[in-house]
Amino acid sequence: MQNEFVPLFYGFHFYLFGLIALASALMFVTRKSPVAAALWLVQTMFALAALYVMMDAQFVGVMQILVYAGAIMVVFLFVIMLLNLGHPSEISDIRGKWGRVIAGLFGIALLAEIGAASRNALVPALQLPQAPTDGAINGTAGVIGPIAGPMFKEYLLAFELTSVLLLVAVIGAVVLGKKSSNAR
């Protein structure tokens, strides 16, 4: 499938999904209804997953959907629905004019920093993603091989410690939840 259309194909989809991601992220921070905001965030995650797949990271792309869109955001939505929050205008946490101005200034500063960094000689120039190579896909364990190998061999200790940390957080949440219900 290697011919002259491939760069054009990838360029087009990079900009398409990039624009979708940016537009939905903007919608996400500007919506007043929490359910609408959550759904725009899901949309952003789908666009990001598409970008990961284009960068030959199919595993990361699928995990983005499976973990973030499919599990975390569903729980978010579940909590929002369970609390059954009132009318959007009453519960919005978008704060007055000054709050928006300050937040906007921070946003512009961050954009300027990214722009400066991308022009810096120390950072390699920004490049569009390349077409996937067959080597990454046809390894011994397919696309998950290059991730599974380092995770369970070189960085096994770090990986296990992280999982213990998460377990501690879960147990902590349960203990805190129990305490408040016992206090009455």
């Binding site: 899901v42 699928v62 729980v75 939505l77 629905m81 998950i144």
Partner: protein, 426 residues
């Protein structure tokens, strides 16, 4: 001559196709699969009504056309012609969007399921799968995990307390059973060493079907698949005895119809996944003819028939269960998912990982001998789990056998009552 031309194509037929052929073939496959699944959905609804009638000793719909086969057309026309109603306080955007969000994931999984052996054509070899993704299996898990949005949003946007309860139940149930489902399939990945569905089918054709090698994982996946598709005994999101119709209470006409359509599409998809992961996909049992040698048109047709028969059996199984078992109680549902299936799945992953490691260290080649050893261990494990450890306690205490003390107490009470009644009568 035509026979030879049909079954012995020239050397180009075994090569990779060019970009143009690939695109055209993909479009044809998409249309074919979509049409097949949609017709399948229509006739599964019909099959459900006829089979339920058969199970309950009734006739079922048999008036429209021969054997009632045109009933699905009549139902379709009826649903399209009916008036659409919208609840006054509904969130209209999401209310209209939700049926579509429910339907799309149910169909999307078909993109990665291989349904026959590759087809040789004069323009190169065409894989009989719409998109042969290298992350195939994870893609199916990801897509099934977003299926819950349609149900949850339908429940919330209707602005109706029964619909909201249905939507909440749907999301709680699907998140719970997704974990057990993911854990049960870890064993499949341990054996195949890859997430590519084509590789998983290849592994089963050399070592034997996973249903024998990973029996307990199969049972867990089967139960989780029922819960993920919200079928009886896991249909609490639309439990009509408590929630009117659950998340689709406020829907009418075609928008309502989209929910059953997505449920049946999900059922067919789950059956196809079950076949791919545990019943060898398009593999034909008891022969290596379909897996070795050159691909031919005949092989493609027969492997497709094999895949279709296995999938339709599991669709029938879904219907059979629906008209046999009653619905779970909500606490039973949660305790089955979290307290029974998740620990069993975790323990089973450990057992299978140890077993695979031990057999590899013993130097067993990965063919029928490896499969045979796995099958022997699994037979023991299944007997242990279902006949020794469980003894009728699988769901919750409500279903369990009573212990001896409780039986003695109940008998004493009954005897005392009987004595009292006879005393009064005398």
């Amino acid at each position: 001559m035509t026979h030879v031309a049909l079954f012995a194509l020239d050397a180009t037929s075994q090569m990779d196709p060019t970009t143009g052929v690939f695109l055209i073939a993909s479009v044809i496959k998409m249309i074919a699969i979509f049409t097949l699944v949609m017709v399948g959905v229509a006739y599964t609804t019909f099959a459900e009504r006829r089979i339920s009638a058969w199970i309950q000793d009734r006739h079922g719909p048999n008036r429209v056309g021969p054997l009632g086969l045109f009933q699905v057309l009549a139902d379709g026309v009826k649903n399209l012609m009916k008036e659409e109603t919208y609840p006054g306080d509904a969130n209209l955007t999401l209310f209209i969007l939700a049926p579509a969000i429910a339907f799309i994931p149910a169909m999307l999984t078909w993109a990665v399921i291989p349904f026959a052996s590759p087809l040789p054509t004069p323009w190169g070899r065409i894989d009989m799968v719409v998109a042969d993704l290298p992350v195939g299996f994870l893609f199916t898990l990801a897509i099934s995990s977003i299926g819950v949005y349609g149900l949850a949003l339908a429940g919330w946007s209707s602005n109706n307390k029964y619909a909201l309860l249905g939507g909440l139940r749907a999301s709680a149930q699907m998140i719970s059973y997704e974990i057990a489902m993911g854990m049960s399939t870890v064993c499949v990945l341990l054996l195949s060493g890859n997430v590519h569905l084509t590789e998983i089918i290849k592994q089963q054709s050399t070592m034997g079907w996973n249903v024998f090698l990973l029996s307990i994982a199969f049972f867990l996946f089967l139960i989780a698949a029922f819960a993920e598709t919200n079928r009886v005994p896991f249909d609490l999101p639309e439990a009509e005895s408590e929630l009117i119709a659950g998340y689709h209470t406020e829907y009418s006409a075609m928008k309502f119809s989209m929910f059953p359509i997505s449920e049946y599409a999900g059922m067919i998809t789950a059956s196809a996944m079950l076949v791919t992961l545990f019943f060898g996909g398009w593999d034909i049992p008891f022969t290596q003819w379909d897996n070795t040698g050159e691909f031919t048109v005949l092989k493609t047709l027969l492997t497709f028939a094999s895949f279709a028969v296995k999938t339709l059996f599991w669709v029938f199984f879904y219907i059979w269960i629906r008209w046999t078992l009653p619905r779970f109680r909500y606490d039973q549902l949660m305790s089955l998912g979290w307290k029974v299936m998740l620990p069993i799945a975790l323990a089973y992953v450990t057992v299978i990982a140890t077993l695979v490691l031990a057999l590899d260290m013993a130097g067993l080649p990965r063919d029928w001998r490896f499969g045979g050893a796995m099958f022997a261990v699994n037979a023991v494990l299944v007997v242990l789990l279902f006949f020794v450890l469980d003894r009728g306690r699988i769901v919750s205490p409500a279903y369990s056998r009573l212990d001896k003390a409780a039986v003695a107490r109940l008998r004493a009470v009954t005897a005392a009552r009987a004595a009292l009644t006879t005393g009064e009568g005398a």
